[in-house]
Amino acid sequence: MWKILVAAVALLSAVNAGFAASAINKDSEPRTLVVTQGSSKTDLQINPGETVQFCPKGCFVTLPNGDLEALNGSETIEISGGVARIK
């Protein structure tokens, strides 16, 4: 019984992870990413401390320092001190 429950939980969490790229803003001011996904280019504002999920299947993103990066949809972007790092 417990094993089944644990297995189900593990499965669920595994499904939950790896769903889209996510970006977390660790700064104290909002940061903006420019996301080019599909045929549109949108500004994605991330409030301080917020984590957003975006880009489910590959996109281009302009980071706050002006760098352009391609994402395939499983990355985590961490913004701290105005610098974004892709993990």
């Binding site: 019984m1 769903f19 045929s39 999920q53 590959g58 352009l68 391609a70």
Partner: protein, 833 residues
């Protein structure tokens, strides 16, 4: 000595390691930058080439798209190609990531540019910084090319999507002039078409028989062997599931489902295997020539589908075995439904097969229209007939039709198809009929799934299923747990069916997988209300976290109570208090973590809570006060579980202290739920607070005139002689009153456990009665009830006086009668005669 040598060796090793590390870790800086620079230049050139190739392919596709405007498959193909190109562009852009990361890392190592007024950085650093930034700019330029290209491809993809939906709309709303389509020419067309088809098939047959007979026979035999292996093997493996046991009165739903499944699967799979093997061997031995391969393939698929539909309908409705039906319909109606379903499959199959033939032979449009027209009308008629079937029986035995909503839907669909076809919207009619058939099949499957889920969720349903039996045999799960598990499985199955079949139906209705994906993604992303985003995954994970937290709390509670505190000989009341406090704290923490996992910001929640607290303070005053009182009870512990308390009129044993109220069981076994605030605000007596010591009084009356001293001695002996009466404090006998009926004594004694009071009182009273009876001391009983007997009136002594009184009474009665008679006469008025 040896130790010293050891240390020497270790030191040497450490030195070597440090040297090696230094050699690897610090390569000459300028050399590395150059190397990186070279590789980056090469990479940029390479990716630029790739992007250029992609760009020219996109150009070609952009030109091709308008040419494909009238052909759905062409547009779909373009779209798929564009999608592939777009992902290639992304891959090409992704290739730069390690390089960019390397450059960024190096730039970070170099540190920020020194501010003005500070000493400038060394020339070598400045040059390297410049080189790195130049490289980065180059990479960014290439990436932006890729981005622009990707944007262009995606807008082209959007364009194809829009064109496809437009085309779809146009096709559906296109109206054919039936009079021109069904002119005399059609007969000629059909005849030439048929003769061409006949020629093709017969010439192929002649060729095959003449030159390839052996190969054909061989291939057929091999295919037959393959099918036989599958068929008999399947029977052998699943034989017990293939044949329903007629003697079983009420087979479980899952057993019926598995019989249906296997009876459909095994023969269909055998037939499919036969066809596949035959086609394969024919193809291998070059028997197939020209269009024959395509015809044969189409024919085989159609026949296999018809067979499958027929088998499935037979198994699901099984008119011969009423107990084994999946869908409970009458046998007569079931037979009709099987025939109609098979007919529908045959018609659509022929339609598809003729479509293949038409396409291969490049037939005129009129034939295609005629084919679709006939098929649509036939499907419409079959639908109407299906609607007319009366599949159920009322309790009185009258045949009952489908439920009204279903019947009207079937009639509406059938009517729509026929009318559309008759009006000339042949493609619309055909599209609708195929949608009806496919969607109907999917819905039917979903319905069977729901029925199975219900069967699983029913009481004992899971336990009777194979997996339930397996689980019961392997683990020592109780029946109730198994039932609950079945319920959970059934709920999960229901959700699964919706999750599986809904997209399937949507896909059938022409939605794109991409749309569905983005919908699902949007749903998972959630809706934003103000600053709070609520998403399904968030809520689900929040609930999951809470459930996990709850179970962990329960487990911790149990462990703390059972293992730690029980071993530590902690007082039961304290144990209870700690357990409860841990439980509340755990659940509260789990709830908080769950809420934050659900994506709801706790600070915004705090704001809401602050605003609401005033209202809650007034509205839930009682509840809150009880809650706080409960916490105080847990902390202060004026009583604990098992204590005998008296609160107001309630006296009894404390059974449970919970956060709002306390359960008290009176000695009559009545459970009284007392709000905690009463227990805190009012006086509560606790017989067993610090100890269970308590005093008991027994009153005894002795008749006046008895030997009081002797009685006193007897009482004293009895009470001192009882083993459960405490010697200290000493029992005491008080001569308390010269009562109205007796001389009253009171025996006062202490018991170590006041809860034994009743038994001891009994013992002492019996002993007193016995002792007094032996000594002849009377215990008087006061008569409480006064019975008043009715006494007759005394015989009169003065006769004359009585007689006079009697005469006066009789006279008065006479007078009263006379007066009453007069009054009545007056009132009556004149006589009518």
């Amino acid at each position: 000595m040896q130790d010293g040598r050891h240390i020497m060796v270790l030191r040497l090793l450490r030195l070597l390691a440090v040297l090696a590390l230094a050699a690897f870790a610090s390569p000459p800086n300028s050399g590395a930058a150059q190397e990186v620079g070279q590789s980056i230049a090469g990479m940029i050139a390479e990716q630029q080439k790739v992007l250029q190739a992609l760009s020219s392919k996109t150009d070609a596709l952009e030109k091709k798209i308008p040419a494909d405007a009238d052909e759905d498959s062409g547009l779909l193909d373009d779209r798929l190609q564009l999608e592939a190109l777009s992902s290639q562009a992304l891959q090409s852009a992704l290739a730069f990531r390690p390089k960019v990361a390397e450059i960024n890392r190096r730039l970070e190592e170099l540190g920020p540019v020194p501010a003005e007024g500070k000493p400038p950085e060394p020339a070598i650093v400045a040059t390297e910084r410049k080189t790195l930034e130049a490289q980065k700019a180059q990479i960014n330029a290439v990436l932006s090319v890729a981005e622009t290209l990707s944007l262009r491809m995606n807008s082209l993809i959007d364009k194809t999507t829009a064109m496809r939906s437009e085309l779809f709309r146009k096709v559906l709303t296109h109206r054919f002039e039936l009079t021109t389509a069904f002119s005399e020419k059609i007969g000629v067309d059909a005849r030439t078409e048929f003769s061409r088809f006949y020629d093709a098939v017969s010439s192929w047959l002649m060729f095959a028989v003449k030159f390839k007979l052996q190969a054909m026979l061989m291939a057929t035999l091999l295919a037959l062997a393959a099918a036989a292996i599958l068929f008999f093997g399947g029977r052998r493996l699943f034989g017990h599931m293939l044949y329903p046991d007629k003697s079983v009165e009420d087979p479980p739903y899952l057993a019926r489902l598995s019989v249906t499944f296997w009876t459909t699967l095994v023969p269909t799979a055998s037939l499919a295997a036969f066809f596949a093997a035959a086609y394969y061997f024919f193809d291998r031995s070059n028997v197939l020539r020209g269009d024959i391969g395509v015809f044969l393939q189409g024919f085989m698929i159609v026949v296999a589908t018809i067979f499958c539909v027929n088998r499935l309908a037979n198994a699901a409705l099984s008119p011969r075995l009423p107990n084994w039906r999946l869908i409970p319909v009458e046998p007569h109606a079931g037979r009709w439904l099987i025939r109609l379903a098979t007919a529908m499959a045959v018609i659509i199959g022929i339609h598809i097969f003729l479509g293949v033939v038409n396409e291969q032979m490049g037939s005129p449009l009129s034939l295609t229209i005629a084919r679709s027209f006939v098929a649509a009308i036939a499907v419409g008629i079959i639908l109407l007939l299906m609607g007319l079937v009366k599949p159920f029986r009322t309790r009185t035995g009258i045949r009952r039709p489908w439920p009204t909503w279903l019947r009207s839907t079937i009639f509406a669909l059938g009517g729509f198809i026929i009318v559309a076809a008759l009006l000339g919207y042949v493609r619309l009619a055909m599209f609708a009929s195929i949608q009806v058939v496919v969607t109907g099949t999917i819905l039917l499957m979903a319905y069977i799934g729901f029925l199975s889920a219900r069967a699983l969720g029913a009481e004992g349903g899971f336990g009777a299923s194979a997996s339930g039996r397996w689980l019961a045999a392997r683990t020592n799960v109780e029946d109730i747990t198994l039932d609950q598990l079945g319920l959970a499985v059934s709920v999960a199955l229901n959700i699964l069916i919706v999750v599986l079949f809904l997209p399937l139906i949507l896909l059938m209705w022409g939605f794109h997988p991409g749309d569905l994906q983005s919908w699902a993604y949007g749903m998972a992303q959630g809706v934003t209300i103000g600053s709070v985003t609520i998403s399904i995954t968030g809520v689900l994970s929040g609930i999951l976290v809470f459930v996990i937290g709850y179970f962990v709390t329960r487990w911790f509670q149990g462990w703390l109570d059972g293992s730690v505190m029980a071993r530590g000989r902690v007082d039961a009341g304290v144990r209870n208090s700690i357990r409860l406090a841990v439980g509340y704290a755990g659940v509260a923490i789990a709830a908080l973590i769950g809420i934050s996992a659900a994506g709801i910001n706790l600070s915004s929640l705090a704001l809401v809570a602050g605003a609401l607290s005033l209202g809650i303070g007034f509205g839930l005053q009682n509840v809150v006060s009880n809650f706080v009182s409960g916490l105080i009870l847990l902390a202060e512990r004026p009583f604990k579980v098992g204590d005998w308390i008296v609160a107001g009129a309630v006296s009894g044993t404390v059974k449970k202290i919970s956060v709002r109220a306390t359960e008290i069981e009176t000695f009559q076994r009545q459970t009284v739920i007392l709000p905690n605030s009463i227990l805190i605000n009012d006086a509560v007596g606790n017989w067993t607070h610090r100890n269970k010591l308590g005093r008991v009084e027994i009153r005894v009356g002795v008749a006046y005139g008895s030997d009081v001293k002797r009685a006193y001695e007897l009482l004293s002996d009895i009470v001192r002689g009882h083993p459960m009466v405490l010697k200290n404090p000493e029992p005491f006998i008080q001569f308390i009153n010269f009562g109205p009926a007796a001389l009253e004594f009171e025996i006062r004694y202490f018991l170590a456990d006041i809860l034994n009071g009743g038994a001891v009182q009994n013992d002492i009273r019996f002993a007193i009665i016995d002792a007094f009876a032996k000594e002849g001391i009377e215990i008087p009983s006061t008569v409480q009830a006064v019975v008043s007997a009715r006494k007759p009136a005394p015989w009169p002594t003065d006769d004359d006086k009585v007689e006079a009184e009697f005469a006066a009474r009789a006279e008065a009665r006479e007078k009263a009668k006379e007066q009453a008679g007069k009054r009545r006469r007056k009132l009556r008025g004149p006589d009518p005669l």
